[in-house]
């Protein structure tokens, strides 16, 4: 029963032969199959997002000791659908003086920039998007289109806050792209290809074991690229009146919202694919369908970790955020790249255990040295943020506070 082991290529072949039997030319069948596949993946991703929004609100509620959505349907599961219906029938408010084309193009481009990443993701050994030989660079380049969408939104809105928010957002996104791009060189070095399916196939041992520091840097910078807490200066509501999307209403705002959630999940999938082995797992060689489930399970775990970070950590200040990127992550990623390249080259590929051990030791050494340097640096450059006596809520505790301050 081939169908149960590997259903999707089975269906694709069946559809292909069906259309060929109708006498359509081969090229047309190919294009029709491409359009169908693209529609399926895009619509599937969008529908999955509605489920994710519910899950995120529910989990966020539990983290913060609330209930989360609980009225519409069992456990509030239809809350997102109700929200969607509402937002679909909301009025578009187009403020006076907007630049029409950029203003309307921005939400479309924001969603499209995230959706197009799904074109290259391998879902299982036999069912993947296109295994193009530059997929990794493609993912990063598409991120540039997302930045363009933010600029269009900020500039098109004819609003000072929107423009300021957009430039802050773009400054953050481009900054965190630097360590991300540098660190992604390491999986490419191990694999010898930029195709995502090749990268997954090379991960008999997941790359998180071979390059833990690179993995951590990539994780941090992909959270920052999402603009999620603790890096959510893009949508710091109380400071920037919600940032670049302030003038949007109705579904146009909803599109930015969808792009935000979809981006978070997409970066979890990319993280899983590059560092956690993607669809690799026991039994995929005989049952490729299992690969899809492994991918989903790993992705959900990564996504949960991102949510846990989002709902528990306080927000960075912008100078702290920039310092974290330029003074810690970028030098660290450069050092990691150099050390990994030299260590991996000096040990022959045949000695697998020695190679893994050496890479692990090198990574731990990098981490220890970086941690030590950081401690020394921050001790030497402590900035006094507050001066003078602070008002106290309970003056009777004053003595103990003073003791602590003098330490």
């Amino acid at each position: 029963m081939n169908f149960l082991y590997d259903p999707i290529p089975f269906i694709i072949n069946w559809l292909n032969s069906l259309m060929l039997s109708w006498g359509w030319p081969v090229d047309v069948v190919q294009v029709v199959m491409f359009v169908l596949g693209a529609l399926l993946i895009c619509v599937g991703a969008m529908l999955f997002t509605t489920l994710l929004i519910w899950a995120e609100r529910k989990i966020g509620g539990r983290f913060q000791d609330r209930l989360g959505p609980n009225r519409v349907g069992p456990w509030g599961i239809f809350q997102t659908i109700a929200d969607m219906l509402k937002i679909f029938t909301k009025e578009y408010i187009t403020p006076a003086g907007v630049d029409k084309i950029p203003f309307n193009l921005a939400p479309v481009l924001a969603v499209a920039a995230v959706l197009s990443i799904w074109a290259v993701i391998p879902f299982s050994e036999t069912f993947s998007g296109v295994n193009i030989n530059i997929a990794l660079l493609y993912i990063i380049a598409i991120g540039g289109l997302g930045e363009m969408a933010i600029i269009l939104a900020g500039f098109g809105s004819n609003n000072k806050y929107a423009l300021l928010g957009a430039f802050r957002a773009v400054a953050q996104l481009i900054s965190y792209e630097v360590p991300m791009v540098i660190v992604l060189l390491i999986p490419v070095m191990f694999t010898g290809s930029m195709g995502l399916n090749d990268i997954v196939q090379a991960q008999k041992i997941p790359f998180i074991v071979l390059a833990p520091v690179a993995c951590l840097i990539f994780f941090i910078s992909s959270i920052a690229e999402n603009g999620r807490a603790p890096f959510d200066l893009i949508e710091a509501d109380s400071e920037l009146v919600a940032g670049f999307n302030i003038e949007y209403s109705g579904l146009k705002f909803g599109m930015f919202f969808v792009a935000d959630f979809l981006h978070a999940f997409t970066s979890a999938i990319i993280f899983t694919t590059i560092f956690l082995g993607g669809w690799q797992g026991p039994g995929v060689a005989t049952h490729p369908i299992l690969g899809g489930f492994y991918l989903l399970a790993k992705t959900l775990i990564v996504y949960f970790a991102m949510l846990a970070i989002r709902f528990t950590l306080p927000r960075f200040r912008i100078d702290q955020m920039m310092a974290l990127n330029w003074k810690i992550l970028t030098p660290l990623s450069l050092v990691t790249l150099l050390v990994t390249a030299v260590v991996d080259k000096s040990i022959p590929r045949e000695l697998m255990a020695v190679r893994i051990g050496a890479l692990l030791v090198a990574n731990i050494l990098i981490w220890l040295v970086a941690d030590r340097l950081f401690t020394v640096y921050s001790r030497r450059h402590t900035r006094l943020v507050v001066s003078g006596p602070r008002p106290l809520a309970r003056p009777d505790l004053k003595s103990s506070k003073e003791e602590r301050a003098s330490l």
Partner: protein
Amino acid sequence: MTPMQILFLITGVVILFSAVMAVSARKMIHSALWFVLALLGVAVVFAMLEASFFAVVQVLIYVGAIAILIIFGVMLTRRALEDNGKHINRATITTTVIVIFVFAGLIYSLRLWVPLLATTTPLSSDHLDVGSLGLAFTDPRQFSLPFEITSVLLLAALIGAIYIAYERKDEKK
């Protein structure tokens, strides 16, 4: 007309139109946005030439970095753009004549060249391997010197630009 040729013509028209808009738009920010569209069109042309690495690098470097830098520059100097003067020089007509002569000269000089009508067959996968470029960059008999020189050039650009653009707070006083 094959579908490929139709696609090329559409892309060409989009590139030329947005290039014209980029050099003639009155507001500088519009000019920059049209420039981005022209760059995306050039990326499509690169993809048609089966240079996929360069198509992606075009989007990554030009759209993702250079265009964003230009937009930052436009924003930093935006007050000067709101002036009511003309946005182009007086010499428009003269320049148009010169440019048309240059274009005609280019076409004329190409006229008799033999490989002009060359067509080609699709490349095999080992011709398209990005790794061969990497090997060429590290081979001292090929391009290892240009590779190192690009890093020196980038370093010079970084230091020079920071030196020019950056002023400390205390230097201003």
